[in-house]
Amino acid sequence: MTAAIFSHDSRSSAATGIAAHNRSKALRKILTYAALWIAFVWAVFPFYWMIATSLRAKDEIFQRPPSLVPHTVTIQNYIDLLVGAQFWRFAMNSLLLTASVTLVSVLISVTAGYAMARHRFKGSVVLPLFMLYGQMFPPVLLLIPFYAQLRLLGWLDSLWGLIPVYLSYMLPLCVWLMRGFFSQVPHSLEDAARMDGCTRWQAFWKVILPMAKPGIVAVATWVMIHSWNEFLYASTFILSEKNRTLPLGLSGLIGQYTTDWGVLMAGGVITALPILLVFFFLQKHLVSGVGGGAVKG
């Protein structure tokens, strides 16, 4: 920084130069914080507004002009939402679907990712790239064949039918990410275990898997978040109300003529809550995982 001062102000007298520099430095600091606050408010405001709306009484929600801060805080919207059996049902559906998809994709991608990272075999170079391609296929192209297939199999309007559909959306990227994590686990450890008499499988199971645990947790979280949030496939293939997932249930609260925004926003808060919790506990893993794999969010 001192270097910058001298080179910048070498022509003016030293004293006034440094004073001017300090002033511009303070100004820059103020501007930086101002910009940060603007960005912060812009990013957080809709989230704030969702919470604020969910805590308002019905008549206040439709009051004009809307006030930035709720006059009275009530949890009536949450009570209305949770008293009906519907919301619990949606939450259970989402939970079941998310858990199954996460379990299946982690189990399957763990071995594939490992083999691609560690072994040389026919296709060990092409397959990972192919997996990355698989992730980029537009869902709208897959929708129609899926629809035809699920119809044929009688799996339309079934949560189980959504599992293979979600796998198409998750699995390729899981394999790609897992491969990245496994290639960071040092070879030498596995070799040492093998020298000590472990079979390939034992070395994988007892040495490599525990080492790769942070990566596996990151991939599992990524799948969880995306399955929990998925809307397009669920809204196309789920027809009856009892099979809806949370995002579908929420969008179903939009009425043709009127919408109870208080209840809807309460549902939004509850739907977002698990994701926010997971995110803030695992922030470091996720950010490095996504940054390292350089893939879609």
Binding site: M1, A3, S7, H8, T32, A35, L36, F40, P46, F47, W49, M50, T53, I61, Q63, P65, P66, I108, T111, A112, A115, S124, L132, Y133, G134, M136, F137, P138, P139, V140, L141, L142, L143, I144, P145, Y147, A148, R151, P164, S168, L171, T199, R200, N229, F231, L232, P247, L250, S251, I254, L264, G268, I275, F279, V290, G291, A294, V295, K296, G297
Partner: protein, 314 residues
């Protein structure tokens, strides 16, 4: 590898010993990737191929039930091109993609540069700015729809207070503003991820180069333009391609705010294909549009992969 894989004779043999030698050892990696490959073939490759094929057949719900579909060649594509809605959707897609990519990259870079410095409280700002990325997309879109409400929406109120507009405006209900209103939500949601990617890249720029530039008397802007940007260009390009792919595939924002309306004013190719397929149940027509999107995305993905390889070689 094979030199070391002598079966450990002194130890208790287990079922997994069969993978140690001969055929078992050679089959081992294939067995490990097999489940993933089979599933991807089944749920990605087969559907994609069958989707592309559908574009050349006349497929409706009735023919789906009876099972006999007529091959119609390029007829579906001709019908798509003749549809004025398609032309509109194509124009909208171009506008939608350009606005999103330019704004998300510009704002993402600005935010990354702002957050890439040691200042008190920077962690607080960083967490806050990541909120849009973390909020589930459906929840975010519905919240924005509520904020845009024509009679009691907070967006209207704030804009009136700031003196930008005189009276409440139905942002999503007006053909002149619907696409742009949805774009604002999409930019809000997408920028933090771009910021993350660029922040990761900025942290890899060697300090020594920046110091050398300062020594030579480079101003901030010159440093940004001649030192920082060239250093992060590959990550920047990757972020651009990813944003492009995510924007083309962003269905939730448009569908849950406007369903492409009013009067197709916010229709993009994705929602148009969806409407062809699941409102009109003309699956051949929908596949034709989807196939065109597919080709565009494959080109973008190829560029993306080339860029990733370029980065690994750097």
């Amino acid at each position: 590898m094979s030199a070391r894989t002598v079966p450990p004779s002194g130890l208790k043999p287990t079922w997994s010993s069969i993978f140690e030698t001969g055929l078992g050892a050679r089959a081992y990696p294939y067995l490990m990737v097999l489940p993933a490959v089979v599933i991807v073939l089944g749920v990605v490759v087969y559907p994609v191929l069958s989707g592309i094929m559908t574009a050349f057949y006349d497929v409706t719900l009735r023919s789906l039930n009876s099972g006999d579909m007529d091959f119609v060649g390029l007829r579906n594509f001709e019908r798509v091109f003749a549809d004025p809605n398609f032309v509109r959707a194509l124009q909208n897609t171009v506008v939608w993609v350009i606005l999103n990519v330019v704004a998300q990259l510009g704002l993402g870079l600005a935010l990354a540069l702002l957050l890439h410095r040691a200042m008190p409280g920077i962690g607080f700002f960083r967490s806050g700015i990541l909120v849009p990325w973390v909020v589930p997309s459906v929840v975010a879109v519905l919240t924005w729809r509520w904020m845009y409400d024509p009679s009691v929406g907070i967006v209207n109120e704030l804009l009136v207070k700031l003196g930008v507009i005189d009276a409440y405006h139905p942002w999503l209900g007006d053909t002149a503003t619907s696409l742009y209103a949805v774009t604002v939500e999409s930019i809000w949601k997408g920028t933090p991820f771009v910021m993350l990617l660029l922040l990761a890249a900025l942290q890899l720029v060697p300090k020594s180069i920046l110091e050398a530039a300062s020594m030579d008397g480079a101003s901030r802007w010159k440093k940004l333009w001649y030192v920082i940007l060239p250093q992060i260009r590959v990550s920047f390009a990757i972020a651009a391609v990813l944003t492009f792919i995510l924007t083309v595939n962003n269905f939730n924002a448009i569908w849950l705010m406007t369903e492409g309306g009013p009067l197709n004013s916010s229709e993009i190719l994705f929602t148009l294909a969806y409407k062809y397929g699941f409102k009109r149940f003309d699956l051949g027509l929908a596949s034709a549009v989807a196939t065109m999107l597919f080709v565009g995305l494959v080109v973008a993905t190829t560029v993306y992969l080339k860029l990733i390889q370029a980065r690994e070689e750097d």
